[in-house]
Symmetry: C2
Subunit: 293 residues, 2 copies
């Protein structure tokens, strides 16, 4: 498993100016609204060779999440610099890492309405070296489906992830690497991935709406499909049509493009990573190589 | 607003045996699953004259919440004794207070599946003197309705309360004291209350299912209706029938029975607390007087 590095960044009621400090000294108050209400949002941003990947997309998505829940984080543009400092402090320059960035509505007496406007949002950032998911990428993964019991705003990257915890644990217990949510008969997305299918040469994925997260890797894959002239339809995959799919794959910031070879222990097509999935894996890595100097 | 007392109880990875300590010294790790996943549940239990009210109901509900999310809290039966110690330490014996009790799946590297079984759940308990909601009880409150965008397991008292935060803030901005959720055309419950209506002498409330919390005060009110021979129907109130309701009220542990005099700025019946609501308020207080020695 990925292990988070020692130094993190924390800005909170106790440290109003923010500081990089050893994680053991990073104290969250039990009165933090993130702790008792999940009143916060997060973002995960990665590097290749020490450079942030699509930072504008990630920061824009973070801004959208913050705006949707009305948390005013005035120092959001300082995040890339904090990330750079965290790399230095943890001696991880040039490494492939991901940053976990979480903002909450700050520390206040537990009461549902927002606290007074002078309460400072908490901002927490950690850095974790990426263990490359080579087995997943080359051999593909098994998935299960789970009822999508989540809220109606899955487009917000909220820290309220208990339904995803329970779904992912069910996957783990079934020997699967990911759980795919099903709502109203359609596959929406995984617990930490977006979902794609290929049927008769057309790449299918759930359209952007309130039921899925607008994944940055999802966006890059759709851009690559356009570059490669691969036909795309932003149409959700029906659970009843799963046996007609030629390929399935999932995407995420740390996984990139990972083939799905079985769902609920039933093989996808011939149970091997698909040809178009392979093309997109390669195209994604070429894109990274072109983008990162 | 209610202000939490200085001494709280915390049992966490850092304090594995648990201790009563000043809240400023109570440190939650940023790696607590409650902070980054809302991977936890809570309970609110109150006293009258220093005695716990219906503690078995509250502890059973807490056990049900813990079981539903598969958090194993082996020391749940120690909670009443911890509460007693907290009263002493805060010099609140004999006062009317509420205890806020939160358990999370403990401290571990951020990863969706459950941590290893030897990771200790975090247990946090605070105590807060109750500011009596006299104005609410005597004059009644204004409410608004909000779409119920919450997850499908509102019967679990999960700490993932962001949708309730947003709904309650909308109520505050509208000058209302509570937001009532509407799902599929029916009123389910408030952000921290259960909802009741009275129509032609029959008391209506949403049946217990996955869309509402099984409120302890709801149970007591239903028991009192039986004692008083008041007819009850566990049938949800349709939003379209709101203008036909003779009375509306909400219940909660700290509020008891509070009349609703308007919804979305439209008066409920004549806009005054209803007669049956008054009967139940009185019956509730008599019940408390009988129960607490």
């Amino acid at each position: 498993m990925n292990e988070t590095s020692d130094f993190c960044y924390l800005r909170s009621a106790e440290n109003p100016f923010g500081a990089i400090l050893p994680k053991k000294q990073a104290h969250i108050s039990p009165d933090d609204r993130g702790f008792y209400f999940a009143d916060g949002v997060y973002e995960v941003m990665r590097t290749y060779s020490g450079q942030l990947f699509r930072p504008r997309d990630h920061l824009n998505r973070f801004k959208n999440s913050l705006a949707a829940v009305k948390i005013e984080l005035t120092d959001i543009n300082a995040i890339p610099e904090i990330c750079t400092q965290l790399l230095k402090r943890n001696q991880l320059q040039g490494e492939e890492v991901f940053f976990y960035i979480q903002a909450t509505r700050g520390v206040w007496q537990r009461n549902l309405p927002f606290p007074p406007p002078d309460v400072i949002p908490t901002l927490y950032i950690s850095v974790t070296p990426i263990v490359q998911p080579e087995t997943e990428r080359t051999q593909g993964i098994a998935c299960i489906t789970m009822p999508d019991i989540r809220w109606q705003r899955c487009d917000i990257k909220s820290i309220g992830l208990l339904p995803s915890v329970l779904a992912r644990q069910a996957a783990t217990e079934a020997g699967a690497a990911e759980a795919i949510f099903v709502r109203n008969g359609v596959l929406t997305e995984g617990t930490h991935t977006n979902l794609f299918g290929v049927k008769k040469g057309v790449i299918l994925t759930h359209p952007l709406n309130n039921h899925i997260l607008p994944g940055v890797t999802r966006t890059v894959v759709l851009e690559l499909c356009q570059l490669l002239n691969l036909p795309v339809s932003e149409t959700p995959i029906q659970q009843k049509d799963l046996n007609e799919m030629d390929e399935i794959f999932v995407t995420s910031t740390t996984w990139e493009v990972v083939p799905v070879i079985s769902i609920n222990a039933i093989p996808v097509a011939n149970g091997k990573p698909g040809a178009i999935t392979r093309v997109l894996q390669k195209a994604f890595q070429d894109y990274v190589a072109r983008t990162i100097k």
